[in-house]
């Protein structure tokens, strides 16, 4: 039987193009992944055949549309092994999911004296929402340190920091700057011992490895569709039902109320309670299609593929003069991040673009981590299912040309 891996690049129409006269080498997958034909087609088909507003509709199109939408919810729930579809709330993406938890759960449960434990490697989207709720509730922020360039969480500090005042522990699964894969099941188990609620930022893991929320034992998990071969504008928040049912709504309006009077309203249960207004049902259907696509490739195989490329890139790049690689030298997620002594990340990225290579340079929404490491920016190459070894050759060659231009011959 032919494997879907065999002709994988053909599945992604966007890859078949030239940039600045060179074949596109897309290595900006941690920012957003490309979309396979099947996902684009699912969206098309939905708009061309089944589109109608969901819920409350009694006509054929609306019932079909509702079935597709709720089917997508069930598909996403199965993808992460949630207990029930009602534990999946559709959002715009990771950022909105974390805003929802921080505002709704945090607003209702945090008080002065409570501690919100984060880590030093959090993306702004898993950091600023907690700063805001800390200000609002009087809770205090605490940060689990990172060990330095190696980029691991300092687990030796965890017991000291996980005091009974810690009410919530929020951390990333995979760092978008370091590539570190955190031991999420262990972190959840240790948080549970002090009764802290756990929130996992799965933006960088959801599309790259198997995820089982029950095996991990987390309370909430946030992710974005556009980083898992799906479209923009859709993502999800997983939450344990008991927690969700006790939370106040986040956005309010049509579709999430059970009764509205002029002066007060009653809410529906989850997930409706958290999905005010017309949901982004078409993109949710595309998210379901992405789950199918990723499972057809096999998520364990994706993890191995992306990790292998990242380690290969790490080893090849380490040979270059004046380079500083950050993140773990061993096992890592599908990305590498580095800085040159004498060429700024933006110049590197601009020169790479000249070679048709898409890289990202900057602070990657990780300013506090960068400051901690004494950096202002890094270059990041991030891999996905369609990337190949030869693209690492192109990457290394481009870096060599850039160093040569700035007078730092390899």
């Amino acid at each position: 039987m032919p494997s879907p891996w065999d002709r994988i690049r053909d599945e992604f129409p966007i890859l078949n193009q030239q940039v600045n006269g060179r074949p596109l080498v897309y290595l900006d997958n941690a920012a957003t992944t490309q979309k396979p034909r099947t996902v684009i087609a699912a969206l098309d088909r939905f708009y061309a055949q089944d589109n109608a507003n969901v819920h409350r509709g009694l006509h054929a199109l609306s019932m079909r549309s509702t079935n597709h939408y709720e089917g997508a919810r069930a598909r996403v729930a199965a993808f992460i092994n949630a207990e029930a579809p009602e534990e999946v709330i559709f959002t715009r993406g990771t950022t909105e999911s974390i805003n929802l938890v921080a505002s709704s759960w945090g607003g209702a449960n945090l008080r002065k004296g409570d501690v919100i434990l984060l880590t030093e490697m959090e993306h702004h989207s898993n950091l600023v929402p907690w700063q805001v709720v800390a200000q609002r509730t009087g809770a205090t922020l605490r940060y689990l340190p990172v060990t330095g360039d190696e980029g691991l969480l300092d687990l030796s500090a965890l017991d000291r920091m996980l005091t009974p005042e810690v009410k919530v522990f929020a951390f990333t699964h995979v760092s978008n700057t370091l590539g570190t894969i955190n031991p999420v099941a262990e972190l959840c188990a240790r948080a549970r011992k002090v009764g802290a609620v756990t929130v996992i930022d799965a933006a960088q893991s959801i599309g790259h490895m198997p995820i089982d929320v029950r095996a991990i034992g987390c309370d909430f998990l946030a992710f974005s569709g556009h980083k898992m071969a799906s479209v923009t504008g859709i993502g999800a928040l997983y939450g344990r039902r008991a927690l969700l049912d006790a939370m106040p709504p986040y956005q309010v309006g049509g579709g999430m109320i059970s009764r509205v009077d002029f002066f007060e309203s009653l809410w529906k249960p989850s997930p409706e309670r958290f999905e005010a207004g017309t949901p982004n049902f078409a993109d949710a259907v595309a998210l379901g299609a992405s789950c199918d696509f990723l499972d057809s490739l096999g998520r364990q195989r994706i993890r191995e593929h992306d990790g292998r490329l990242a380690r290969a890139a790490y080893e090849r790049l380490a040979q270059l003069p004046g380079i500083r690689l950050i993140g773990p030298a061993g096992e890592r997620g599908g990305l590498v991040s580095f800085a040159f002594k004498s060429v700024h990340a933006h110049d590197v990225v601009t020169f790479a673009d000249e070679d048709g290579i898409a890289l990202r340079g900057g602070h990657h929404c990780n300013q506090p981590l960068m400051k901690r490491l004494g950096l202002t920016s890094t270059v990041r190459a991030s891999f996905y299912v369609y990337n190949e070894e030869r693209e690492i050759d192109a990457l290394v060659a481009s870096m060599q040309r850039t160093l040569a231009f700035f007078g730092l011959e390899a």
Binding site: L58, R241, I257, P269
Partner: protein, 151 residues
């Protein structure tokens, strides 16, 4: 009219919709409960006079579509004289009928609701009054709603 639609709007249902049985408030009721279907605005109040564990009298008030009105009316005729346990069991059977379309042989008129299963959005219409009745029986103070996870 399609087979599905005529299965949904069976004569029994049309009859109960046109001439609802046990409609109104029983003055001697010692239990009552309110139910609503927030998505479509259907409402239903069920009134009971419990005699020990047995439903001595039962009535309903409310507004909604033909399915919900007929279901409430038919329910009152079926529950009168039953014990709480019998009522719970009957609801289990009724739920089975409206969600699967399978009619057990001995279900008499309740089998008329088998057509509902082909219209999933209408299942809530058929079960609303039952939710209210069971809440009243259980003495549950929270209004019944078809949006609960238990449906």
């Amino acid at each position: 009219m399609s087979a599905e639609l005529s299965d949904l709007y069976q004569n029994v249902i049309l009859d109960h919709n046109r001439r609802p049985r046990n409609r109104g408030r029983i003055p001697s009721a010692n239990r009552s409960a309110h139910g609503d279907n927030p998505s479509c605005g259907d409402q239903c109040d069920v009134f009971l006079r419990l005699d020990g564990d047995r439903i001595a009298e039962i009535s309903f008030e409310g507004s909604g579509c033909a399915i919900s009105q007929a279901s409430a009316s038919l329910m009152t005729t079926q529950l009168k004289g039953k014990t709480a346990a019998e009522a719970e069991k009957l609801y289990g059977q009724f739920h089975e009928i409206v969600t699967t379309g399978k009619e057990p042989e001995d279900m008499s008129d309740l089998g008329a609701f088998a057509g509902v299963h082909a219209f999933p959005a209408r299942i809530k219409c058929a079960t609303l009054s039952w939710h209210a009745a069971l809440n009243a029986l259980r003495g549950d103070p929270v209004p019944a709603t078809t949006e609960s996870h238990l449906d």
